[in-house]
């Protein structure tokens, strides 16, 4: 069984198949940016990208992930250590408070921006619906995603 995480290919023994992706990421790979808030796939803090789609890692078993490409929050920053424009936008817009939802929130937003280069605020709200935040009221998070879209895809016109 092969699973790629943040560009690194991991070969796994077959008896690992029942292990939860979230536990494997946190405990075996030390990728602690993936958080566990509810353990039942409702809060979104464990969100990762699987082939560019936002998924809840606390619900997935490794056996479901054969040959998949997984991106965690640790895989976003540029090779030189600088922040991804989406991460930078979260910083600049004051979108971070306690930070526990932040990794999942960033990844859900990234999944949106990969397929929709100029989302409306309503579309951003829809895309983040699965990620709970108790601190921010979401508003500055939505500001951040809007700003990141402008930075990432400056040539795109606003879609109506």
């Amino acid at each position: 069984m092969k699973i790629t995480v943040n560009g690194v290919c991991h070969k796994l023994a077959d008896d690992m198949g029942a292990r939860l992706l979230s536990d494997w990421l946190r405990e075996d790979l030390g990728l602690i940016g993936t958080k566990i808030g509810c353990g039942i796939g409702v809060c979104g803090t464990c969100t990762v990208l699987i082939d560019d789609l936002a998924k809840r890692s606390c619900l997935l078993k490794l056996s479901d992930l054969q040959d998949k490409e997984i991106t965690t929050i640790e895989g976003l920053a540029n090779a030189d250590g600088s922040l991804h424009p989406l991460q930078q936008a979260f910083v600049d817009c004051g979108a971070i408070q306690c930070g526990f939802c932040t990794p999942g929130m960033v990844l859900s937003a990234l999944a949106l921006l990969l397929k929709n280069h100029r989302p409306t605020r309503d579309e951003i709200r829809q895309a983040l619906k699965g990620n709970l935040c108790r601190c921010t009221g979401y508003q500055q998070i939505i500001d951040a995603v809007e700003l990141a879209a402008k930075k990432l895809y400056p040539s795109n016109q606003i879609s109506i």
Partner: protein, 750 residues
């Protein structure tokens, strides 16, 4: 655009920030609690024989193993670290399983056999008040956990003066904090004999007291260190501190590092909630619009333990008549023990309950005399120099109630939109409503307790600065606020200042980071420390360079002719070369407050903040669905240290407050929570909210060294009544029980 500042933003946005559960230690064990899951019983026997033989299990710990105090508490010591002989709450922990892995501990929990005798429980605080009710804590002598009152003027006179007397009952719900990070703690006994603890808790010093009491240690032998915390909102005090104490207990008994990380289910089962209140008001009004008296009785369900109920209900007592001048006031406020899951600190702390009621009541009163609700509020509201119902004169700061109200009503265009309200018009398939609420709020702890804080500024030989204060980073950005205050005072860029993660062994106990007091008290101490430091440096410059320092700016020390004397770094080098430490310890003590328990009179808080929020919404008559269309808030914060973070408090508070009004309610069955995760206990999501407008009002407070006050709680405490008032104008019906559940006409006939 000025960018937001947070010292921890990069660590959090890259996933590198390490919360408690992200830490591990060599040889670390895992422990988990067994909850009682029933609310009233006598424990006959806890049989661990089978569980102890389960794979990976090292030890099973019960109350008999506790070397120190079994029960502890911040006010009344009634909260057991492990239940002993008696179960009073479904959240009681009967045993702790310590195992090699968390999974093994989880398996073994199921094999512990409990032999107990269930006893009748008390689940209604009004029944608990009856004379023949069994006592939850016989040693307390009563089920009344505490009682506060206000006696101002004379109600009989107020009744005589009244043209109308309005009587109304209100109730508020039991609410889950729903911080996204469940409780977690990691403890180990250091070789020097100190029990070191990190944990997801919002009061390191309170946690240290819980740990020390449980182990029978002195405070010097426990060191609590802080790591990033995934939300608290008042909810990570007692329970979170006990989780730390239990981890320490396990580490002490097993002589290995032990981590306890709760599942969401464990967290919701055990952690305290917001107090539900039953509130009965009588209000007298005169035809000219004046309020002649307020008489109110409040019963707050404390659940099985005291926690901070006396302090929560005290705030309700002080603010029992809302932000209005009332000549005759008679209030009785009870905190009552039951076998329900217990209640404690929660953002707002006794004010959201009162505001839910009083901000509807004033509108009912206004309507009764045919006055509009804006004019009625203007007539009765506290103004500069007003005297509060507890006999406190508001003259030390700007009383900006009218200013915040005017700003909100103008921004939302209240008068015009008021005419569009549907009032339940049966010809419409969507009802529109607009509503608002106002409040005042006493800042910091007030006469609740000792109110001081300290800060240490320790300049290093290279001119870089280590700063710490007795304030805890709950996620709100308090460290960033402290850094910004120090940077401004010292004339340095924020990059030169590092906030040192404090430890309880390094800085004096600064009290809990609650009551919206972080920026006020910690910022006050930081300002004081910076002033002391500047005088130390100025004296060194005067003595050794012969020049008088006027100010510190942009990394330079300047004289009063705007001439640079030397750079900051040169001044620091000078200090060290002359054997002077550029080190300062600053203290801010809250100005004097007072309280008389008998009359309910006193200068309850040394300063106050003022706020107004308005809401537009739509109600679907067929489904009862409420959609919020717009929310606007104005709050006087004194001075905004970090405006983007202040706005974050606005948006977050309004969102939490909207959830409180609309959906949030922790259901109980015989005292035990029946919603144990986020699929059952719902909080608002991004799609449930409109765009919000935050209006920051700044009237610098003379009694605050940094001129800042607070913002965490005011933002939450008036959203729900603003919604209720808007729902009234949409539906034509008053909803006095919270959360609001729209009645449909068909239900009325049933």
């Amino acid at each position: 655009m000025k960018k937001a500042f947070r010292n921890d933003a990069i660590a959090k946005v890259t996933g590198r920030a390490k919360y408690t559960d992200d830490y591990s230690m060599p040889g670390m064990l895992h422990a988990l609690p067994l909850h009682a899951d029933r609310s009233s019983a006598m424990i006959r026997k806890i049989d661990v024989s089978k569980a102890a033989k389960m794979p990976g299990v090292l030890r099973i710990i019960t109350a008999e193993d506790v070397p120190g105090e079994i029960k502890y508490g911040q006010i009344i010591r009634d909260y057991p670290v492990l239940a002993h002989k008696k179960i009073r709450s479904s959240g009681d922990v009967l045993a702790l399983v310590v195992a090699q892995t968390r999974a093994e501990a989880l398996c073994a929990l199921k094999e512990i056999k409990i032999d107990l005798k269930e006893t009748p429980g008390l689940y209604d605080p009004h029944q608990a008040l009856l004379p023949d009710a069994p006592l939850i804590h016989p040693e307390h002598g009563s089920n009344i956990c505490n009682y506060h009152r206000v006696r101002t003027g004379d109600i009989a006179t107020g009744e005589k003066d009244a043209d109308f007397i309005i009587e109304e009952n209100f109730s508020t719900s039991r609410v889950e904090h729903a911080y996204l990070e469940p409780e977690s703690a990691l403890a180990h006994l250091r070789p020097d004999g100190v029990m070191e603890v990190i944990g997801s808790m919002q009061h390191p010093f309170s946690t240290r007291r819980f740990v020390a009491a449980t182990l029978g240690f002195e405070l010097k032998d426990v060191e609590v260190r802080t790591v990033p915390m995934g939300g608290g909102f008042g909810g990570k005090d007692d329970t979170a501190a006990l989780v730390c104490a239990r981890a320490a207990l396990c580490a002490y008994l097993c002589e290995r590092p032990v981590k306890i990380t709760y599942s969401r289910e464990m967290s919701m089962k055990e952690s305290y909630k917001r107090h539900p209140y039953d509130i009965s008001y009588r209000m007298g009004v005169k035809r000219d619009g004046g309020i002649s008296f307020v008489q109110v009785r409040m019963v707050a369900d404390s659940g099985a333990y005291c926690s901070v109920t006396p302090w929560v209900t005290w705030r309700s007592t002080v603010q029992c008549s809302g932000c209005y001048e009332v000549p005759h006031v008679h209030s009785d406020v009870y905190g009552v023990y039951t076998n329900n899951i217990f209640t404690g600190a929660f953002r707002g702390f006794g004010s959201p309950q009162v505001n839910w009621a009083i901000e509807q009541l004033v509108e009912i009163a206004a309507e009764k005399i045919g006055m509009d609700e804006v004019e009625f509020r203007q007539k009765n509201m506290l103004k500069q120099g007003s005297v509060t119902v507890t006999n406190q004169k508001l003259d030390s700061h700007t009383v900006s109630l009218k200013e915040v109200m005017d700003k909100v009503l103008t921004e939302i265009d209240y008068n015009k939109k008021h005419e569009l309200c549907s009032f339940g018009d049966p010809s419409l398939d969507k009802w529109y409503g607009i509503g608002f609420a106002i409040s005042y709020r006493g800042m910091s702890l007030g006469a609740e307790g000792v109110d001081m804080n300290s800060a240490i500024i320790n300049v290093q030989p290279d001119g870089s600065v280590l700063l710490e204060s007795g304030v805890h980073e709950n996620g709100q950005g308090s460290e960033s606020a402290m850094i910004l205050i120090a940077a401004e005072e010292l004339g340095l860029p924020v990059s030169r200042i590092r906030y040192r993660m404090p430890s309880t062994s390094n800085i004096p106990d600064g009290g809990t980071t609650v009551a919206s007091r972080g920026t006020l008290m910690g910022g006050g101490a930081t300002t004081k420390a910076a002033e002391i430091l500047k005088s130390i440096i100025s004296e060194a410059v005067k003595d050794h360079m012969g020049k008088s320092v006027d100010r510190f700016e942009d990394g330079w020390i300047l004289d009063d002719q705007d001439q640079r004397i030397c750079s900051w770094d040169e001044a620091i080098r000078l200090c060290y070369s002359k054997q002077i430490y550029p080190y300062a310890f600053g203290v801010f003590q809250a100005p004097r407050v007072s309280w008389d328990e008998d009359t309910g009179h006193g200068d309850a808080y040394f300063t106050w903040v003022y706020g107004c929020q308005a809401v537009e919404l739509e109600v679907e008559p067929k489904t009862g669905k409420i959609t919020i269309l717009n929310m606007v808030a104005a709050h006087d914060v004194g001075r905004a240290i970090n405006p983007d973070m202040v706005k974050g408090q606005f948006y977050g508070g309004m969102t939490m407050g909207a959830g409180y009004g609309l959906i949030e309610e922790m259901p109980l069955r015989e005292g035990a929570v029946t919603a144990t995760n986020f699929h059952q206990y719902k909080i608002l999501r991004s799609t449930d909210l409109p765009e919000m407008t935050a209006i920051i009002v700044e009237n610098p407070d003379p009694l605050s060294p940094s001129k800042a006050k607070g913002i965490g709680e005011p933002t939450l405490e008036i959203t729900a009544p603003a919604i209720a008032n808007a729902v009234y104008r949409a539906t034509g019906r008053r909803y006095t029980d919270q959360p609001i559940k729209i009645r449909r006409d068909s239900e009325d006939n049933g």
